[in-house]
């Protein structure tokens, strides 16, 4: 492969921390980011827990009311077009650029592209449309569209950072930012761009999270210590979260040339559809199984080379079972036994954010030589028989790392990461 994409910068605004050191510590120590919440001021809602994003506050759709931690700065010119998750994204990107040793002024060089993923902001869109209805179309926030629809991240950030390379947003629900990262890899592998900024983000609002209650997809367990327990036989749904994660992906030669520290190599990716249901995963995990196989084939490695799988498992009864069966087909049945855990046990499910967040966790695992344990797992689902689900984090270099994501409509995307040579 003439052009190899590598990761040189990470930025985190997550329920388990807003900087690399805190996130790494919490992954190692299996400290979750959940807190009790009362959505929509309604104590009767069965959903009692969320992966809260500490230090940020968005009490209204008016940016003048918004607050974020003092160590981040968000320009007013940018702020007026953002949704809450856009603020998270700016803060995450600032970290990632600093870590990669890049100045914002370098991003308009044409060699840098930007791929983003979020569901848009149901919170902002709801308020925008309510005003439009109330005034029968005679009033509307001029920034209402760009701050709310899917694409809000790439609209705002591409303009602000003067990106003149490839710019796109990706929408495949909970696989969205995994698609963004996969296609960013292709931009570099095809020689079209030398650097890609990849950002996944979601609001942490009732509008984004409680909506999933209608699907019966959320956990009703009020205990923050056990509500999210992927692969456990007592799991009863996912716990929602928001935030943003930014990755700086560069062509290896460019990264080396400018002396950037390479944290992980991205050596393959793949995707496959379930062809099955709009919301439910294929009962045997057919699409995810194929996506994993295509990823291994793309990287020209066999299953036995994989040391750790960061599973998509969100803690829903059906989804985790499908993934367990897909993992057994790809690994156990081939005599391979990678460690498997879902870090959503600690963070909650970040929807469009999930794939980028977990790719960043995989990068930390490779860069800092540890494997996050399967938190909150006490009684594994029998479907997991044969999978290696370590109950505690392991201080061991993981070898090749596979990152799994699945979204609505049966979109399945995987990435394979490697320690730099």
């Amino acid at each position: 492969m003439p052009f190899l994409p590598v990761i040189t910068g990470l930025g985190f605004i997550t329920s388990i921390g807003h900087d690399r050191a805190t996130v790494g510590h919490n992954l190692r120590e299996l400290r979750h980011g959940f807190a009790p919440v009362e959505f929509l001021g309604n104590p009767n809602l069965p959903v009692k827990v969320a992966g809260t994003v500490k230090g940020f506050d968005f009490p209204s759709p008016n940016w003048r009311d918004w607050r974020w931690p003092d160590n981040f700065s968000v320009d007013r010119e940018l702020l007026r077009g953002l949704a809450p998750h856009g603020v998270y994204a700016v803060c995450a990107l600032q970290q990632a650029l600093a870590e990669a040793g890049l100045d914002a002024a370098q991003l308009g060089d044409g060699g840098t592209g930007l791929f983003c993923a979020s569901a848009g902001s149901p919170f902002m869109l709801g308020h925008f449309l309510a005003q439009l209805q109330e005034t029968r179309g005679e009033r509307g926030n001029p920034m209402g569209i760009v701050s709310s629809i899917a694409g809000t991240l790439n609209f705002n950030l591409a303009a602000h950072y003067k990106i003149s390379g490839a710019v796109c947003g990706f929408v495949s629900a909970c696989a969205s930012s995994s698609h963004a990262l996969g296609y960013a890899m292709d931009e570099i592998r095809l020689g079209r761009q030398s650097r890609m900024l990849v950002i996944g983000a979601e609001d942490m609002t009732a509008e984004s999270i409680v909506s999933f209650s209608s699907l019966r997809a959320l956990s009703n367990n009020p205990d923050p210590a056990t509500a999210s327990r992927p692969f456990d036989s007592q799991r009863d749904g996912f716990v929602g979260t928001g935030g943003a994660v930014a990755l700086v992906v560069e062509e290896a030669g460019l990264a080396r040339h400018r002396g950037a520290r390479i944290q992980a190599e991205l050596i393959g990716w793949g995707q496959a559809g379930d062809g099955h249901s709009v919301a439910a995963s294929h009962p045997a995990g057919a699409g995810l199984r194929e996506a994993m196989r295509r990823t291994l084939a793309d990287a020209r490695v066999n299953a036995a080379a994989v040391g750790y799988v960061n599973a998509h498992a969100t803690s829903t009864p059906a989804g985790d079972r499908s993934e367990a069966l897909a993992l057994k087909a790809v690994f156990t049945d081939q005599g391979a036994r990678p460690r498997v855990s879902s870090t959503k046990a600690l963070t909650g499910h970040g929807l469009s954010l999930a794939g980028a967040m977990e790719a960043a966790f995989c990068t930390l695992a490779i860069d800092e030589a540890f494997i996050p344990g399967a938190a909150h797992l006490t009684d594994p689902d029998p479907a997991c028989a044969g999978l290696d689900l370590p109950r505690t984090s392991l201080e061991e270099a993981p070898g090749l790392v596979l990152n799994n994501s699945s979204g609505f409509g049966g979109s399945n995307v995987c990435h394979l990461l490697r320690r730099p040579a």
Binding site: N62, R64, D75, R76, E77, R80, G81, T135, R136, E138, R139, N141, P142, M143
Partner: protein, 124 residues
């Protein structure tokens, strides 16, 4: 083309609408409501501009000459101007058409325009 009438909004919105403006501007607005004195409008207009300006200016707008241009000198763009227009329409109960606003280029233009509009319109 006749501009459409501004939508009717509850008067109780007004206090909430200006809560983000500085105390002096809020006091000036109350003075204007009580006296209809157009002089009281000026601090309100400048505070609205400062509230919507994309990049905060190096000096307070009150210190800048009247011929300072909104777009060329003050970083306003069409979106920010649209925000100012909507806010001003709702606050003063006036209606501003696109044709009118494109003729407003400077701080002095805007001041004169809003004075004339408010004098002619149903200020609340």
């Amino acid at each position: 083309m006749k501009a459409p009438a501004a939508p009717t909004l509850p008067a109780t919105d007004q206090k909430d609408r200006i809560k983000h403006l500085p105390a002096e501007a809020r006091a000036a607005f109350q003075r204007f409501q009580a006296t209809c004195d157009p002089v009281a409008l000026d601090p309100v207009i400048l505070a609205i501009l400062e509230d919507f300006i994309p990049r905060p200016p190096a000096r307070p707008l009150a210190e800048l000459p009247g011929d300072t241009r909104l777009i060329d000198d003050l970083s306003f763009d069409s979106l920010a101007i649209a925000e100012v227009v909507f806010f001003t329409e709702d606050l003063f109960g006036i209606s501003i058409s696109n044709e009118e606003i494109v003729r407003v280029r400077s701080l002095a233009d805007l001041r004169g325009f809003i004075h004339a509009k408010v004098a002619a319109g149903p200020a609340r």
